[in-house]
């Protein structure tokens, strides 16, 4: 799904092995949370805002984040 900058979406699930997922979970990047991409890093990786925290993630990881628009059922 293409997400535009500043669009608030809901995280549905994280397709990563548990040990790689844990640090993200600790920082509040959890299924059910609202996140929004606020900008891109110079190398094009997304920087997202979750509950007031800015997280820079590699796009390889971002691809493992399954999100949906709030209110919609599809992922």
């Amino acid at each position: 799904m293409d997400i535009t900058l500043r669009e608030v979406v809901e995280l549905v699930r994280i397709d990563l092995p548990e040990d790689q997922m844990e640090p993200l979970l600790e920082r509040g990047l959890l299924p059910g949370c609202q996140l929004c991409q606020v900008r891109r890093s110079p190398s094009g990786d997304p920087i997202v805002m979750v509950d007031g925290t800015l997280l820079a993630i590699r796009h390889e990881v971002a691809r493992c984040l399954c999100v949906r628009r709030p209110g919609s059922n599809g992922a």
Binding site: R13, I14, L16, E18, D19, Q20, M21, E22, P23, L24, L25, E26, R27, G28, L30, P31, G32, C33, V38, R39, R40, S41, P42, S43, D45, I47, M49, V50, D51, G52, T53, L54, L55, A56, I57, R58, E60, V61, C64
Partner: protein
């Protein structure tokens, strides 16, 4: 889990007196802070642990509460990573406060998390299980930060929750009712602005309560974990559950998420800009180097004048005796040649401190990540590698922030290739002695500067190549899913940075006063025996001379004679010691890198090929026992340090041989 305390104990036993750079509070020890557990007769005072996520202002609070009464000692029981300080209460009672590394959880993925967990669970020998906890969070990012609170409260230790940066929360339109929060979490809650000292009295009130209550009786401590393993729920669900509870609590406490910081938004749109971001990044790196190599120079000259002046003053007042020889040729020359670098190291740490505390370092890591990823490292390795230009030891400790173990090992392994400041005087001396100054590019770049730059590039390229090789051989494996939390930009606290620089100076001077002093004295002694008829032997006949001649065959192929061999051996203590050693061997009166006499003497012992060989040798060889020791501790074994020493020595010998043979 059972592995952690064992590693921990092993780490503790080898205490090197240098503290991590990543943790903004490194506090070297002093004798009066021997912990009660190690001094059975002393009064045992309660221990309070300071816990919190990174960038929550934890170390600022620690510094505010302890001031300069903070130490780390290197005896069994307290490791360098345990920054222990004493809090004096208004009624003169004392408490111990331990500042734990910033963590987001207790999964023990990183060394920092492991240490935090072990201290909280009371698994660290010589450090009692904490009698109380002070949990500090950044209230502008309250909800994710509370994720750490729940597992910590399960420990059942009296806890104070500190909502730091409370003024910023309000300024940005956020809110929280701390009384509600306190009630729902079942802990005391206070608001602070640790930087300005607001709310510290309430923290002290809590500490008075701790002192009143005294020591907690020994108790079986529940194991800390992010996830309660007995529950059948998958990890994600357990986190989601915890998150749901926290949401509920924060909602009931009237928490309003603050607007995002305008300052952070504006600065990020510049610092993370597609074009400006990388340019500013480069400018910052250049600025840091510029400051080390140009701005620190007047200060270094000042220190040099002080050292030389005081040496001359002492020399004048002592009769010509062996004692004068020892003091002047041994102590002053040996220790003085190292102390000169203090300003350079402080300038570097000043910049690193400013960059870290302001929040820029996290952005730099993001910008560097893609490039680092290509060579087999990751963005978090940027800070350790950058610190490696000052000294590999704090750099290796800083690598603890690299969560992925393979990435951390790779970072540690390549760090000693970064040109540390101890190599600089050796380079400066050899370049001045052997490379004639000619202009290369206009008025800016001469042959000498170019040679120096070349040596820096040689080190960096070798580091990159080594990382790439490691990632394809010994450290092959899946890549870590790198991500970086970007803290809001904040104005660094002068006090925190000043305390850090003060600590750095103490650590550095202590090293100069112990290891380097010992080498200088031993070396001087070896030049004085065997005495014949009450006078010292000629240098060739001295004990050191004979030892040098014994190893000469091994280094002949590199074009080095025995004096260089002795220099190389003494440089194992610290690279720059070779200058003082050669000064002693060649009977030079003022053995600093600027000494013309020493340069002349060197030209008598080395030809150009061998001199280039020696430069290359220093670029590669792991001529630093402190680095080996810290490697051993950080990798919990001899495998990596031995491998690294062998690898670097092979490269050094090989390339020095080629240089000598070609030129």
């Amino acid at each position: 889990m059972c592995e952690a305390p064992r590693i921990q104990r092993r780490l503790i036993r080898r205490g090197l007196s240098l503290a991590p750079l990543s943790d903004p509070s490194c506090h070297p020890g002093a004798e009066d802070d021997v912990l009660p557990a190690d001094r059975p007769n002393a009064e045992i005072i309660p221990l309070v642990a300071l816990v919190g996520p990174p960038n929550s202002g934890k170390s600022t609070l620690f510094n505010q509460l302890t001031g300069l009464r903070q130490k780390v000692a290197n005896y069994p029981g307290v490791t360098v990573e345990k920054h222990v300080g004493t809090v004096r209460l208004p009624d003169h009672r004392a408490l111990q406060l331990v500042d734990l590394p910033g963590t987001n959880g207790f999964a023990a993925r990183s060394m920092d998390e492991r240490i935090t967990r072990d201290v909280l669970e009371g698994h660290v020998r010589g450090l009692r299980a904490p009698d109380a906890l002070v949990l500090i969070v950044d209230s502008t990012r309250l909800e994710p930060q509370l994720m750490l609170v729940e597992p910590t409260l399960k420990l059942g230790i009296p806890t104070l929750l500190v909502l730091n940066m409370a003024d910023e929360l309000e300024q940005r339109g956020g809110a929280v009712r701390d009384d509600e929060l306190a009630e729902r979490l079942g802990v005391n809650v206070v608001r602070t602005n640790a930087r300005d000292g607001d709310g510290l009295d309430q923290v002290r009130d809590f500490l008075i309560g701790v002192a009143d209550r005294g020591l907690l009786p020994p108790r079986p401590c529940p194991a800390l974990s992010n996830v309660v393993t007995s529950t059948p729920l998958p990890m994600v669900d357990q986190f989601t559950e915890r998150r749901r509870r926290i949401k509920e609590i924060s909602r009931a406490s009237g928490f309003v998420l603050p607007r995002s910081s305008q300052l952070t938004e504006r600065l990020d749109s510049l610092f993370l800009h597609r074009v400006w971001g990388p340019l500013i990044f480069l400018a910052v790196v250049v600025l840091v180097f510029q400051s080390i190599f140009t701005w620190a120079v007047p200060l270094m000259d000042g220190v040099h004048i002080l050292v030389a002046g005081s040496g001359a003053w002492v020399a004048e007042r002592l009769p010509d005796s062996w004692l004068r020889g020892l003091l002047i040729d041994g102590v002053w020359a040996g220790v003085g040649s190292v102390v000169v670098f203090l300003p350079q190291i402080l300038v570097l740490f000043l910049f690193l401190g400013l960059l870290e505390d302001s929040g820029y370092m996290a952005r730099a890591a993001v910008i560097a990540d893609r490039t680092m990823y290509r060579v087999g490292l990751q963005g978090r390795a940027f800070l350790p590698l950058m610190s490696g230009y000052a000294c590999a030891i704090p750099a290796i400790l800083a690598a603890r922030t690299v969560e992925d173990e393979r990435d951390r090992l790779a970072t540690i392994f390549v760090t000693p290739f970064m040109t540390c400041s101890a190599r600089l005087p050796v380079y400066a001396l050899l370049i001045a002695a052997f490379i004639p100054e000619r202009r290369l590019v206009g008025p800016f770049l001469g042959t000498r500067a170019a040679t120096l730059l070349g040596l820096y590039i040689l080190g960096a390229l070798t580091a990159i190549a080594t990382a790439a090789i490691l990632r394809r051989t010994l450290l092959r494996g899946p890549r870590d899913s790198f991500f970086m939390e970007l803290p809001p930009y904040r104005i660094p606290s002068v006090r925190s940075i000043a305390i850090r620089l003060y600590d750095r100076s103490r650590i550095f001077l202590r090293r100069a006063g112990t290891i380097i002093l010992a080498v200088a004295i031993v070396l001087w002694f070896l030049t004085q025996v065997p005495q014949s008829g009450g006078s010292p032997p000629s240098i060739d006949d001295s004990l050191i001379g004979r030892m040098g001649q014994m190893i000469e065959p091994a280094i002949r192929p590199l074009g080095f004679d025995w004096t260089i061999g002795v220099g190389l051996i003494s440089a194992l203590a610290a690279r720059e010691v070779i200058i003082g050693t050669l000064g002693t061997l060649y009977h030079v009166e003022d053995p600093t890198q600027g000494s013309l006499q020493l340069q002349d003497a060197l030209r008598g012992h080395l030809d150009l090929g061998a001199a280039v060989g020696l430069l290359v040798f220093f670029a590669f060889a792991l001529q630093c026992t402190s680095t080996v020791a810290v490697m051993r501790r950080e990798t919990a074994g001899w495998k990596w340090p031995v491998l690294q020493f062998g690898y670097m020595l092979t490269l050094a010998y090989g390339f020095a041989f080629i240089a000598n043979w070609l030129i």
